[in-house]
């Protein structure tokens, strides 16, 4: 029963979502399942946070590998959670207290908003900015014309990188003979809308067919890994 009930619910939910596309009378059921999904998604956040505390808490307790980082993770999570849920204060509202419904955590001027603007935003932007440096270093070390395939990739990347920026366009436009053709349009028409779109379509069709087959397997109970185990 422990496995059969979840399998039955999965089958029913999958069927309702599928059938509603073909039978308009079932549209209402599809919408109802989606509303339930919203509730479940919200509960899943609580479950996820709980699981994070249990898994990382155990490592911290036995002073396992990288326990210091896990402690920082749990401390950050707890601080954000407490401030977001209970510490709802703004200088304008002049209210400080627990679960004050007149002030939302996302309101401007709250501590949560302050943390988002001045802690999360700069940290997040810094992490992403570092990518530019790593990409430059990695491409210097790894991007070699070792085979025909890698040479084609290198050549295409080179053209897109150089001529999809204004400096490249200015240089191209001043070239004798070639300058009369719009390089932006050539890249758009031949590389992005041509080779790229064709390749993307192939990947898209392949992955969609794969997704359909996995979905059918889940609905029929053949694929059960989402239940844990098996």
């Amino acid at each position: 029963m422990k496995r059969q009930i979840p399998l039955f619910i999965t089958f029913l939910a999958g069927l309702a979502m599928m059938v509603q596309f073909y039978l308009p009378a079932w549209n209402d059921w599809g919408d109802r399942f989606l509303t339930w999904f919203g509730i479940l998604a919200a509960v899943a956040y609580v479950l996820g946070a709980g699981s994070l505390f249990v898994v990382n808490g155990k490592v911290i307790q036995r002073r396992g590998r990288d326990w210091q980082f896990k402690a920082v993770l749990l401390a950050s999570l707890s601080t954000t959670l407490i401030i977001g849920l209970f510490w709802r204060y703004t200088s304008e509202a002049g209210v400080m207290g627990w679960l004050n419904p007149s002030v939302l955590p996302t309101d401007e001027g709250t501590w949560f908003d302050f943390m988002f603007q001045y802690v999360y935003t700069p940290l997040s932007a810094t992490m992403f900015s570092l990518l530019a440096f790593f990409i430059a270093s990695a491409s210097f070390r790894a991007f070699r014309a070792r085979s025909i395939e890698s040479t084609l990739l290198l050549g295409t990347a080179f053209i897109v990188m150089i001529f999809r920026v204004p400096l490249g366009e200015v240089i191209w436009n001043n070239l004798p003979f070639f300058g009369q053709y719009n390089i932006g349009k050539l890249i758009e028409d031949f590389i992005m809308n041509g080779f790229n779109a064709a390749g993307q379509r192939a990947v898209l069709l392949g992955s969609s067919i794969g997704l359909i087959s996995v979905s059918v397997k889940i609905m029929l109970g053949i694929e059960r890994s989402y239940l844990g185990g098996d």
Binding site: A41, S139, F140, F143, F158, V165, L167, M192
Partner: protein, 273 residues
């Protein structure tokens, strides 16, 4: 031989220093390079331009601080095109960070054109559930959103009286950095509800949206910082993207130079061996 060996193992700190320089210097010494808008960007501009006054536009704000440099200028430019033409805007987010980002993007244009929340624009904030939430919203905004981002009941907002479902909108624009975002809007809003859809996406995700642009499911697309700069050029109001294109131009050329240099060293070394 020894020199080639040393060059091929160039310390990464030199590369980092060069990249830092080429990114920072153009902000002090701007080149003011012209930006030529592509067809994909013109598509978005034309779609907004042909809307009559008082039309309704839905904007999905689905990015976080890490990609706001690329995507926020697009949202600001879109609002700058909509507000002076009296086009009403409803904003919503299916990514949790997006709701907080939307405030930052709105502040400038709202003050600039003195728009009123509730009657000129409404920011609905975040709804959990990603693509499922997007589908659920399609069955009715009022069933999924009870309050706007600032806690005002949506049944008290005049603009929301005009909003029933996706069919209430004349155009839908989504600005996203990945999942959940553009692809979900294509599946639900463009394919499912047949609404005209335009996307603003990060440069790295641009290639995956071209099939949808080709098929006509997208009216247009803004790709990365370049797309934002093109849009700013079209609305004739330079924002933060246009000057940043100088830095991007030089950085691209520098990285291309590094790759070329590394390959020359590689082939010379190979020939000697």
């Amino acid at each position: 031989m020894e020199l080639l060996e040393r060059l091929s193992r160039l310390d990464r700190r030199y590369i980092f220093a060069v990249i830092a320089l080429v990114v920072v210097l153009p902000f002090f010494f701007p080149l003011n390079l012209p930006v030529d808008p592509t067809g994909a960007t013109r598509g978005i501009y034309a779609a907004v331009e042909k809307l009559p006054p008082d039309s309704l536009v839905l904007m999905g704000i689905d990015y976080g601080p890490s990609t706001s440099v690329e995507l926020e200028p697009m949202v600001v430019a879109a609002l700058r095109q909509c507000f002076p033409r009296n086009i009403k805007v409803v904003l919503m987010s299916i990514s949790p960070e997006g709701a907080l980002q939307s405030r930052g993007a709105l502040n400038g244009p709202v003050a600039e054109f003195q728009r009123q929340t509730g009657s000129d624009y409404v920011n609905l904030g975040y709804i959990a559930g990603a693509d499922k939430a997007l589908r659920a919203v399609g069955s009715g905004f009022a069933t999924q959103f009870k309050r706007d981002i600032d806690g005002r009941p949506i049944n008290q907002l005049p603009l929301m009286k005009r909003v029933k479902d996706y069919s209430s909108f004349d155009l839908v624009l989504d600005f996203s950095s990945g999942y959940p975002g553009g692809l979900e809007y294509v599946k639900v809003v463009a394919a499912g509800y047949k609404r005209p859809l335009g996307l603003g996406v990060t440069a790295v995700t641009v290639p995956e949206y071209y099939p949808y642009l080709n098929s006509g499911q997208l009216v247009g697309m803004l790709g990365g910082l370049r797309g934002a700069a093109e849009y700013e050029t079209l609305i004739k109001t330079p924002g933060t993207a246009t000057p940043a294109m100088d830095a991007q131009s030089i950085a691209h050329f520098t990285i291309a130079g590094f790759i070329m240099f590394a390959n020359v060293v590689y082939f010379l070394g190979k020939r000697r061996r």
